[in-house]
């Protein structure tokens, strides 16, 4: 994480204390006074509260997803599974609309991320080159779209006129480039690719494209990883474009399926009354399992990408 450690052993102080207490020198710092120790107790209490506030709802969801439908429906589950069962997951994973959604989301995430990444690099690299004529104007042209947008309906009309309504393209093209990602990539290229490399490549007779592919991109792997993951998580999590542009349930991404099941409470019709109650209980359970299943992929990659995310975030923040 970004937490840089400023603690280096301060030799003098450590030795003074070790002489007094006959203990091996501990790194750094004067001993805290009483007020400071009380203060630190407060800090730890505060942070533990933050930790629990975030963690407990997540634990509650996971515990519920592993519990018996009856216990879930009657609200008996708190932070530990009651009558452990995998029934919820079994049901979720055998539901065709959810599986379709899962497959679709994987498709949109892979294809969308690839398109976004290629387009972002294609605009960000040239704009990062100081010797490119018209760079400022084009940058302004790109950044202006951050300030003002046509709106939902005018964009919808474009998608409609292109004949992309109810096609998979509608989810991977209209939001393909994020201006923020372009800015991050631009400042990375500008600060991390030394001009000497370009000079040398030119002397060797390499073209701009050749230089980009064989020198710049291999040097930019961390950046490419950050940008790709930003796009991937965005694609995996978004539902709005699908809500706008898709009518055919076979094309729905997982998030839209989730919204229909979790928030609109849609369940399959045509069941007799006796089965309805049991059905309701199962539906409650399935909500929890669904939440877990749809979030697990993101949570699995997140710890590995968090540090790069921070880097990307900060690169963008430092040089806008």
């Amino acid at each position: 994480m970004v937490s840089t450690d400023v603690e280096r052993p301060a030799v003098g102080i450590g030795r003074a204390r070790s002489l007094a207490t006959r203990r091996p020198p501990r790194p750094r710092r004067v001993k805290d006074g009483l007020d400071d120790r009380l203060f630190m107790v407060g800090v730890y209490v505060l942070l533990t509260t933050f930790l629990l506030v975030v963690l407990l709802p997540l634990v509650y969801i996971v515990a519920s997803s592993l519990s018996d439908p009856l216990a879930v429906s009657s609200g008996r589950v708190s932070f530990w599974p009651v009558d452990f069962t995998l029934e919820g997951y079994r049901r979720v994973l055998s539901d065709p609309s959810i599986l379709t959604g899962f497959g679709n989301s994987i498709f949109y995430t892979l294809v969308g991320t690839a398109i976004s990444l290629v387009l972002t690099v294609s605009i960000a690299y040239p704009l990062s080159r100081r010797d490119l004529w018209g760079r400022r104007g084009i940058t302004l042209f790109v950044v202006f779209t951050m300030l003002f947008a046509g709106g939902i309906i005018p964009t919808y009309l474009v998608v409609q006129n292109l004949g992309m309504l109810d096609t998979r393209l509608a989810l991977v093209l209209p939001q393909a480039i994020g201006v923020w990602q372009v800015i991050i990539a631009m400042s990375f290229f500008r600060t991390s690719i030394p001009d000497e490399l370009y000079e040398a490549a030119q002397l060797d007779g390499a073209s701009d494209l050749r230089f980009l592919v064989s020198t710049v991109l291999p040097l930019s792997k961390p950046l490419l990883a950050v940008i790709a993951l930003m796009y991937a998580i965005y694609q995996w999590n978004s539902y709005f474009d699908a809500l706008l542009y898709l009518r055919d349930p076979d094309l729905y991404p997982l998030q839209l399926v989730l919204r229909n099941v979790l928030i609109l409470n849609q369940t399959a019709p045509g069941l007799d009354a006796a089965a309805a109650l049991e059905r309701q209980q199962l539906a409650d359970l399935m909500k929890y399992s669904l939440i877990v299943i749809s979030t697990v992929p993101v949570m699995l990659v997140y710890p590995f990408v968090a540090r790069y995310f921070n880097k990307g975030l900060l690169v963008g923040a430092v040089k806008g």
Binding site: V2, S3, T4, V6, V30, D35, F39, Y44, L46, L47, F50, L51, V54, L55, P57, I61, V72, S73, G75, L119, I123, Y125, R130, D131, L132, W133, G134, F141, L147, F148, G150, G151, I152, I153, P154, Y156, L157, L162, Q175, I193, D195, E199, L209, L219, N237, F240, Q255, L258, R259, I263, D284, K287, Y288, S294, T295, M299, N310, K311, L313, L314
Partner: protein, 323 residues
């Protein structure tokens, strides 16, 4: 990550050779870098098609759009759609809801990440620090749909934990979701829950960038931890905090559609209907394209004015704006 060693040394030659102004410079640059311009074609086409064409399409706000005549063939009607929106009894409530909700989000979610970052900055137990940071950061990656579903499940009087808690305090089982007065609090609380760890990152970085000499000086002066926070940490992150606040205020009308729409139900609509959700309903559910574009344009212009105004104000006060 590679470091730009000695980039400054080579820069002048590059600049001297290629930085010619005017058309000769353009022609030279085009000849020399035609591959780069070619590379930019596809992304630029994207911006034209999906960003600038919608901006021109927004003229249907001043027309009676119909599918047959298209955007440019439809009849001009001037400000009719704006007037219709302004005289609609829903106009003031929706404007008020939008403004109150986003102002509440901006103000309430502003101090939390700062407190989190300041507290984390004090902790030396690495494991604890990293755990808190990782865990509070995690919800940022959870989708809006899932966060809203979790909140609904949590607050549901039949299933959720919140009912147990309010009952424990003798308040009975409050149905938070169907009472419009709770809508904004629920929205803001879930927003803070989701973004505080993410927003804290930028402050943690700002804290790490504070000159160690200042801490040294504070220690020499006998400052305790609290005094150090007040006199060194907080002034140190003030510029960052101000930028974040300005951005928030400037974007007050640009509040997202996604979450409000998901939290909406027929019972809380009196407070949960905001301009973006209303635009969506008018435009796509009732297919009144021109009316919806007028509302969207109105919102976009207010937002642009706010952003430019706030930026100008900050520039005057501090000498440096966002751009």
């Amino acid at each position: 990550m590679p470091v730009g060693v000695g980039a400054a040394g080579a820069a002048p030659t590059l600049r001297d050779r290629d930085k010619q102004r005017g058309w000769p410079g353009a022609r030279r640059s085009l000849q020399r870098h035609w591959q780069l311009y070619l590379l930019m074609l596809a992304p630029l086409l994207y911006f034209v098609v999906f960003k600038y064409v919608p901006m021109t399409n927004a003229v249907i706000a001043f027309k009676d759009y119909n599918v047959v005549d298209g955007v440019w063939g439809s009849d001009w009607v001037g400000l009719k759609h704006f007037e219709r929106f302004f005289s609609n009894p829903i106009f003031w409530p929706v404007l008020r809801n939008t403004f109150l909700l986003s102002a509440y989000v901006v103000l309430a979610s502003f101090p939390v990440p700062i407190v989190l970052a300041l507290a984390l900055n004090e902790v030396r137990l690495r494991f604890f620090k990293n755990t808190v940071q990782m865990v509070t950061y995690a919800p940022y990656f959870i989708s809006t749909v899932v966060v809203v579903s979790m909140t609904i499940l949590f607050l549901s009087p039949r299933l959720g934990l919140a009912g147990d808690v309010t009952q424990f305090f003798g308040l009975g089982r409050i149905d938070f979701l169907s009472d419009p007065n709770y809508f904004r609090h629920i929205y803001v609380a879930s927003d803070i829950w989701q973004t505080m760890g993410y927003s804290a990152v930028i402050y943690i970085a700002a804290l790490a960038g504070i000159d160690p000499a200042l801490y040294e000086a504070a220690r020499v002066d006998g400052a305790n931890r609290w005094q150090k926070i007040v006199n060194v940490d907080i002034p140190g992150i003030m510029p960052t905090a101000m930028i974040i606040l300005v951005l928030g205020v400037g974007n007050v009308m640009a509040i997202g559609f996604e979450k409000a729409y998901l939290f909406q139900n027929t019972l809380n609509i009196s407070q949960s209907e905001i301009i973006p959700t209303y635009t969506y309903k008018v435009g796509l559910l009732s297919a009144e394209f021109s009316q919806a574009s007028a509302i969207g344009l109105f919102n976009g212009v207010i937002n642009l004015v706010l952003l430019l105004g706030v930026n100008a104000l900050v520039k005057r006060l501090t000498g440096s704006g966002l751009w």
